[in-house]
């Protein structure tokens, strides 16, 4: 039970309670003068009555002050906030607390974190509002509700609040609100949602929700400060799946979300070996830190880039699992053995990391990094498109290949004329179209010669306009601008090959630069899709489709050096999948059989959560914004017992008492 006032802004008038005291003090010091005939009697009387009068004076002053206080309190309209249902009548009160549990809530805001503040606010609301039914919905990557619908057991919710922690996930705030709205629509009585969040700009900017009129939504912001944060926001490797011995560029993007320039060190950690670099990041800027490394063993290799710990350490590191290949597999699809395939055989024999094989039927293509289709007749487009999800296609069209097939596979516009195959005994020469491409980086110095050197006697007269298509990169073209090697700018490149590599049709394969060019080309046109296979989003469960030879019961899941995480087995007719029971938090996870690491996964901190800037809840179009104190005040205003009549009556009674106390008994004098 407590008191609040309807007009807290007028609390200053309570200072007026000092007026009687001041009047008492100042009036005593400067009372009006009165010329009287004789004061000797008064002196005697004062001496006699002083002992009695002083307490009476103080009593009078006390009564006056109390009367003044009571009247002032009556003006303030105080309310007695009582939660006794017999005292406060009202309909069933249903509330749902939607609490932001995202990563940004773990940022410190003063002495505590934003999440701690949110928990405190939620506890206060549950304690003071004492709803008939309540529920808590955690707004994280996947909203989680404590009850399927609001329930009367508040103790459970209090325990849930005590045990809750923020998670390194993004916030699906609107989704959580939708769930809350759905739950409240099934209830009777008053319905209210309290959205407690830091209202991180990245999460809430432009958020919308359809709020019914019957549901009241109150936004409570728990963030008042924006910590200076620097984060590792991106990590990538080039190439994404290097082969043994290949120089690999590891690229980390660091973002400064503070108003100050930051100087810090970044660290690359690869299987215990460590590199560091000092960097300066401008305020609200980004820098890219580059590390180079090469690897001597094939297999999965965890990579971590980190920075010096700052005020928000959750996003100070980022992980990556590199699949290091022992070599590349290039497969030639040809109906008949061709000279071109033989050329590739020679290339493969010269490059230790390259293996070449030939198949005649598309259905017999095994796992390959690159599929070279010789004399493509335009068939099997669907299968090729499926294969190209993970395999780079190099398509050398034959004369029988129609325009439509090329257009479909490469998403090119149809030319005005039919594409012909031409021959030229004098031969054509080719030139590099895009010298800035990494494919030609090796040849920039000229040490390795001209990769396009040679004379070409046969070609397809591909339209020049294809070179200019937006999604196409032209590596090499003929001197008359006819495209020679075109590449689609997709995750898994598709190359349209218009350069004969058989010694009978060109002298190119006999040139010295040919071999390094082919090597560079093959290394740089590998798909990047493998990069993300081991990555899971924070908050989602990890899973591993077990190879047939592995028994699920022998596999454990372990994060870094932590204790094994619980897993469950999902089996169906086709596969056995191990699934982590808990949502994944940022880190590197090892699927182990005994002490042997069989498979690696990694989870990174969600980059959008690194920017800890918040927005004003009022900028959201739904709900009203209040501090929790105001929420409680409003609630009390609607349910409290008005006390002003009592204070008014008390004030009047005190005034009567004061007049009685200050007025002596009348005595008449007899003559």
């Amino acid at each position: 039970m407590s008191f609040i006032t309807t007009y807290p802004a007028l609390l200053w008038i309570l200072a007026l309670v000092t007026v009687p005291i001041l009047v008492h003090l100042f009036a005593r010091s400067r009372p009006p003068s009165y010329a009287f005939s004789d004061t000797a009697f008064l002196k005697i009387l004062l001496k006699k009555t002083a002992r009695l009068r002083k307490p009476q004076d103080w009593l009078t002053l006390l009564l006056r002050t109390l009367a003044c206080l009571a009247l002032l309190l009556a003006i303030l309209h105080p309310l007695l906030v009582a939660r006794d249902p017999n005292v406060v009548a009202g309909a069933q009160n249903n509330i749902i607390l939607v609490i932001d549990q995202s990563a940004s809530m773990s940022a410190r805001d003063g002495a505590t974190t934003r999440f701690d503040k949110a928990i405190s606010e939620a506890s206060k609301l549950l304690n003071d509002l004492k709803p008939d039914k309540a529920n808590i919905i955690w707004a994280r990557a996947s909203a989680k509700s404590e009850y399927p619908e609001p329930a009367p057991n508040l103790q459970f919710l209090h325990e849930a609040l005590q045990n809750a922690e923020s998670v390194n996930e993004t916030s699906a705030g609107p989704s959580a609100l939708s769930i809350a709205i759905g739950q409240l629509q099934k209830t009777q009585g008053s319905r209210e949602i309290f959205l407690i969040s830091d209202f991180q700009k990245n999460s809430w900017n432009g958020a919308q929700t359809a709020l019914p009129d019957s549901i009241k939504l109150t936004k409570i912001k728990v963030a008042s400060q924006t910590p200076n944060n620097v984060a590792v926001t991106e990590l990538s490797c080039s190439p994404s799946s290097p082969i043994i011995g290949q120089d690999t560029l590891i690229r980390a993007k660091l973002s400064n979300f503070s108003d100050q320039n930051q100087h810090l060190s970044s660290y690359l950690n690869i299987a215990g070996s460590r590199q560091s670099k000092s960097i300066d990041i401008p305020a609200h800027g980004q820098v890219e830190v580059l590390f180079t490394a090469s690897f001597s063993k094939s297999g999965q290799l965890p990579i971590t880039v980190s920075i010096d710990e700052d005020t928000y350490p959750a996003d100070d590191s980022r992980h990556l699992i590199l699949d290091i290949d022992s070599g590349l597999q290039i497969t030639s699809l040809e109906r008949n053995p061709s000279a071109s395939s033989e050329t590739l055989d020679r290339v493969a024999s010269a490059l230790p990391w390259l293996k070449h094989s030939s198949v005649k039927n598309i259905s017999k293509i095994g796992p390959a990094d690159i599929l070279f289709i010789h004399d493509w007749d335009g068939s099997n487009i669907k299968q090729l498109e499926q294969i190209s999800q993970n395999t780079t296609l190099i398509v050398d069209p034959s004369i029988s290949c129609g325009n439509a097939a090329i257009e479909e596979l490469f998403s090119l516009k149809s030319p005005s004329s039919v594409i012909n195959r031409s021959s030229n005994s004098d031969g054509w020469e080719a030139t590099i179209s895009d010298p800035s491409s990494p494919v030609f980086q090796l040849f920039a110095s000229g040490e390795y010669g001209n990769p396009a050197a040679g004379v070409f006697h046969k070609r397809m007269d591909l339209p020049i306009s294809w070179s200019n298509a937006e999604h196409i990169t032209s590596f090499i073209s003929y001197t008359d601008n006819t495209p020679a090697i075109l590449s689609s700018n997709t995750a898994t490149p598709r190359l349209l090959w218009n350069l004969p590599i058989s010694p009978t049709d060109s002298s190119w394969a006999l040139q010295e630069p040919f071999l390094p060019f082919i090597a560079e080309l093959l290394l740089h046109i590998r798909p990047d899709s493998k990069l993300n296979e081991q990555e899971f989003l924070s908050g989602s469960p990890l899973f591993w489709s077990l190879p047939d030879e592995i028994d699920a019961s022998s596999v454990t899941l372990q994060k870094d050096a932590d204790a094994p995480s619980p897993t469950q087995v999902n089996r169906d007719d086709l596969s056995t999948v191990l699934l982590s029971e808990e949502p994944a938090a940022p880190g590197i996870f090892s699927w182990k059989i005994g002490n042997h690491v069989s498979h690696l996964n990694y989870v990174n901190f969600p980059s959008p959560e690194s920017d800890l800037q918040t927005l004003t809840p009022d900028s959201l179009t739904f709900g009203q914004t209040l501090a929790s104190e105001d929420v409680l005040r409003n609630d009390a205003l609607s349910q409290g017992v008005p006390l002003w009549p009592y204070f008014l009556a008390a004030g009047i009674l005190l005034l009567f008492a004061e007049s009685f106390a200050s007025t002596p008994q009348k005595i008449t004098i007899a003559d």
């Binding site: 009372p31 009165y34 005939s37 004789d38 004061t39 009697f41 004062l46 009555t49 008449t668």
Partner: protein
């Protein structure tokens, strides 16, 4: 005889006072044969007593007939009839200038009364004197019975202003040698003094056979102390300051004044002194009613 030019003696007062007979019940001492009995043995016709001759007695007073019968010398004494001699003491201290609820200050009220009394006494052929005092005798007019004497009294009263502190005892003590003959003393004052002190100072007069009448003049505000809240009281005589809350003191003040007046009345009764309390809001004719009872 009435003079309407004087402030303190009005024609209507004279008309009212014509029928008053002042001092009829008491013995007075005078030097003229008059309407009043004298307790002095003198040459009147009313026999008083015989007493044995003492050396120094007037031999002419010896009753030779008694000597012839008893061979002893006895004096035959007679009751002497004489005129009345009245001495009016008017308190003119600063406190007498107080007025609040009345149109008249206490001094003005006392002056009206003194003027009327003087006229009455002289009108009846008696003698009246005036003593104006505060802490000492300020003015002394010996008893007289002429119209001119009355005019002098009236002039003196008109010129009189409230003075400084009051000391009734000192004034009465100083006045004693000035009063040669016994008579009636009428003291008009607010008597803001100890009753015992006041009556102690009257003892010499009582011993000398003076008849004493005390006229206690008070403003109603002094009787009941007007409720003015917290007030800085400035003593009109001493200019002393005193801060007091009248609301708190009023009942005690009333009780104290009642006690004071009762004490004066009791002491006066014990010494056969007349005492009359008159608020200034009441007519001063009430005092004459008391005097002639």
């Amino acid at each position: 005889m009435a003079d309407s030019q004087h402030t303190y003696l009005k024609p209507e007062d004279i008309l009212k006072l014509r029928n008053y007979e002042f001092g009829a019940k008491s013995l007075v001492e005078g030097y003229l044969a008059g309407r009043h009995k004298s307790n002095q043995r003198g040459s009147s016709t009313e026999f008083h007593e015989y007493r044995q001759y003492c050396p120094g007695d007037d031999i002419s007073m010896v009753d030779w007939r008694v000597f012839a019968r008893s061979d002893r010398h006895y004096l035959k004494t007679f009751e002497e009839e004489t005129n009345l001699e009245c001495h009016v003491f008017v308190d003119s201290s600063a406190s007498m200038g107080f007025k609040e609820k009345s149109k008249l200050s206490k001094l003005e009220y006392a002056s009206f009364f003194a003027a009327c009394l003087s006229w009455l006494v002289i009108h009846k052929g008696d003698r009246v004197g005036l003593q104006i005092f505060d802490k000492d005798i300020r003015h002394h007019l010996p008893a007289g019975s002429t119209r001119k004497h009355l005019l002098n009294i009236l002039d003196l009263l008109e010129k009189n202003k409230a003075g400084s502190q009051t000391s009734l005892a000192t004034s009465l003590k100083r006045a004693a040698p000035l009063l040669k003959r016994k008579g009636t003393i009428v003291v008009v004052s607010d008597f803001f003094d100890s009753p015992e002190e006041i009556f102690r100072s009257l003892h010499p007069y009582l011993h000398r056979g003076f008849r004493v009448q005390l006229c206690h003049i008070l403003d109603p505000a002094e009787l009941k102390l007007t409720d003015r809240g917290l007030t800085r009281f400035v003593d009109m005589e001493t200019s002393e300051n005193l801060i007091a809350h009248t609301t708190n003191l009023q009942s005690e003040w009333i009780q104290a004044m009642e006690t004071h007046c009762r004490s004066l009345r009791r002491l006066a009764a014990s010494k056969q002194i007349g005492y009359t309390l008159s608020p200034t809001t009441e007519s001063y004719h009430k005092l004459f009613d008391q005097l002639v009872k």
